[in-house]
């Protein structure tokens, strides 16, 4: 090919000639076939899950909210709640409640161990479960302005025995506060009553847990009542009451590389105490585990 026929006339842009900024390019063709988003959540799957869970939510747990209006209807917010039951029932109840009442998706952060389980991990991800990882939380909260639910107690909350019910565990290392600070979003604490009694742990099998690599292997009251198979999936119809507490905003600048450890721990402890106090108050008013 003789050089005169060369079609490209592009010359090398040296530093003296700034590269002209072209306008935002038009959207590229993106032939998607499903609605699974980058986090693995599918609104379609979520819809099916909601339809299946709705009778559980309304008839079985008879979930009742107080202060739902305190959850922002737009913008990112980190929802923080106490965590209980061998297979936590609080996460689906909170997510279902907010999605049906406010029409906003909720992403639930959980330990990565879910992701390593076949079937369960995929299903968990399709209905809005995301690996609890600071970068994930930041992107969801700050860049995508979503609602994110986190249980700072983690498995320490769900693995406690029945006689320790409603005693909140340590709130991790306060990582959730730091993420909210960095993302510049409020924390909305939620006190959940009822999950503790929906699948109470009688005792645990630490040897078996260690052998299969699970965080804990519980023997639940449900297994005693319904038998080992049905009992490991069927909840007791405990009455659920959820109380949304006042949102907490932090007077620190977002996007800092580090935040004062003492401030983070103080805020974390203050939030834990607020939820604990709210729970005590709710428990004082509760006449029956089953009827509220």
């Amino acid at each position: 090919m003789p050089p005169t026929e060369r079609k490209t006339t592009k010359t090398r842009s040296r530093a003296l000639v700034p590269v002209p900024r072209t306008a935002e390019p038009e959207a590229l063709p993106d032939p998607r076939e499903s609605d699974v988003d980058e986090w693995g959540r599918s609104e379609h799957m979520r819809e099916i899950a909601r339809r299946m869970f709705d009778p559980m939510y309304r008839r079985w747990f008879r979930a009742e909210w107080e202060g739902l209006e305190k959850i922002p209807t737009d913008g990112g917010a980190l929802l923080v709640s106490n965590h209980a039951a061998a297979i936590p029932s609080d996460a689906p109840v909170i997510m279902h409640g907010i999605e049906t009442e406010l029409g906003r998706p909720v992403y639930g952060l959980a330990e990565y161990i879910f992701r390593e389980l076949p079937v369960v991990g995929t299903m968990w991800s399709r209905v809005g479960g995301v690996t609890a990882q600071p970068d994930n939380a930041y992107r969801l909260l700050r860049e995508q302005k979503q609602l994110v639910l986190v249980f700072p107690e983690g498995t320490k909350g769900t693995s406690k025995s029945y006689n320790e019910r409603y005693h909140l565990r340590r709130f991790g290392r306060g990582g959730f506060v730091e993420i909210a600070m960095r993302a510049g979003v409020p924390i909305v604490p939620i006190a959940v009553m009822g999950a503790e009694e929906s699948m109470p742990i009688l005792f645990k099998l630490p040897g078996l847990a260690k052998a299969i690599g699970a965080p804990y292997v519980p023997i639940t009251a449900n297994m005693v009542a319904f038998g080992p198979l049905l009992g490991s999936v069927l909840y007791f119809p405990a009455k659920f009451k959820l109380k949304v507490l006042d949102p907490i905003t932090f007077d620190v600048a977002p996007n800092q590389p580090r935040y004062s450890r003492s401030k983070v721990m103080d805020e974390s402890e203050a939030i834990r105490e607020k939820i604990q106090e709210a729970l005590y108050e709710m428990l004082r008013e509760r006449r029956s585990v089953w009827f509220g």
Partner: protein, 346 residues
């Protein structure tokens, strides 16, 4: 004086493509291509030099040709294509010798572009959904290809630190699909049923082979030092990748995979450990830094898969393109014989 470019791995897919693209750039004066094997695509003015896999003659070439730019595309990321020992020689020892030659006293090298892979991030359950260029991997590297790429990136960093006057760009490419390139993932997608791991439907990211070549050329034209992820927009569940390809997935047991993948190996589809962990946990990399540098992609992840399958259908109907064979005497004749009328400066 125009640019003088050395391309490593001329016989590989990327080396050949980049040399072809460089030949079209009028200000590129000299293109020297290095490889242990002859080029597999037709080249017009690139000078091919045979070398052993770890480039022991490199220092002499750099000195003799006075190249100012090195495009290091000879990086093996498909661990099924050769033994891990050969791969180590090519990736680690080859890169080491390359940088030794480029940083020798009196070296004329001013730009270095290295093609790496997002394999350096690994793939594990604890991973973030998106890796940025700064993210550390969450699991130790336990496959030879990942270890070798991490060692390579270490050499790149050292070289960039020791030679601040050289523009060093490291591009980490996501899984590549396209009409021509063959990778373990593309082989899996060419099967009548796409293998998957039972119970797992991870989200993957792809980049089109044209965008890979465009990315390399963009870096050569614009001098953007630093590390960049190169990957199409969006993450796609593996089941959806298969769906776009018009195929169904066939689940393999997620445990004891060496047994499960044995029959596949017999029909020539090898599933290396890094592909299996990808089919379990997937991987997403944040491509925004490269976009901020000014690069414009032509394909999203889903668009890449669609373009791949369209090319696949065409190839399955009309067959492979005729293979090009490099004939040393013929190529030498066209490049150097006085009988050929060359009009390059016109």
């Amino acid at each position: 004086m125009g640019r003088r470019v050395l391309v490593t791995g001329l016989g590989t897919f990327w080396g050949g493509k980049v040399a072809q693209a460089l030949e079209r750039e009028p200000d590129v004066e000299v293109i020297v291509g290095l490889d242990r094997e002859e080029p597999t695509i037709e080249l017009e003015r690139t000078e091919y030099v045979r070398s052993d896999e770890n480039y022991s003659i490199l220092a002499r070439i750099v000195k003799a040709t006075k190249v100012d730019t090195i495009v290091h595309t000879f990086m093996v990321v498909d661990s099924t294509s050769m033994s891990s020992r050969t791969m180590h020689e090519i990736n680690v020892i080859g890169t080491m010798n390359l940088f030794a030659a480029a940083s020798a006293p009196g070296s004329t090298v001013r730009n270095v572009v290295v093609k790496s892979s997002t394999l350096v991030y690994g793939s594990a359950g604890q991973d973030p959904t998106w890796f940025s260029e700064e993210s550390a991997r969450t699991s130790p590297a336990n496959t030879p290809v990942e270890r070798s790429l991490i060692a390579v990136e270490g050499y790149v960093r050292d070289f960039a630190e020791d030679n601040p006057h050289v523009n060093v760009t490291l591009l980490r490419f996501s899984n590549v699909l396209g009409p021509d390139i063959v990778t373990p993932a593309s082989k899996a997608l060419e099967l009548p049923m796409v293998p998957s791991l039972f119970g797992f439907d991870p989200r993957l990211q792809f980049v089109h082979e044209d965008d890979v070549v465009r990315a390399l050329m963009f870096v050569l034209d614009n001098e953007v030092p630093g590390i960049f992820n190169v990957a199409g927009d969006g993450l796609l569940p593996w089941s959806e990748v298969a769906k776009i390809c018009g195929k169904r997935t066939i689940p393999l047991p997620p445990f004891g995979m060496s047994i499960a993948t044995a029959p596949l190996r017999r029909i020539g589809v090898e599933m290396p450990p890094e592909l299996l962990s990808l089919l379990k946990y997937g991987r997403g990399v944040d491509n925004r830094r490269f976009k901020r540098a000014g690069f414009r992609y032509q394909h999203t992840t889903a668009g890449t898969v669609k373009a791949f399958v369209e090319a696949l259908r065409l190839r399955q109907t009309v067959g492979d393109k005729p293979a090009y064979r490099y004939e040393r005497d013929v190529e030498q004749f066209f490049r150097h014989s006085p009988a050929v009328v060359r009009d390059v400066d016109a």
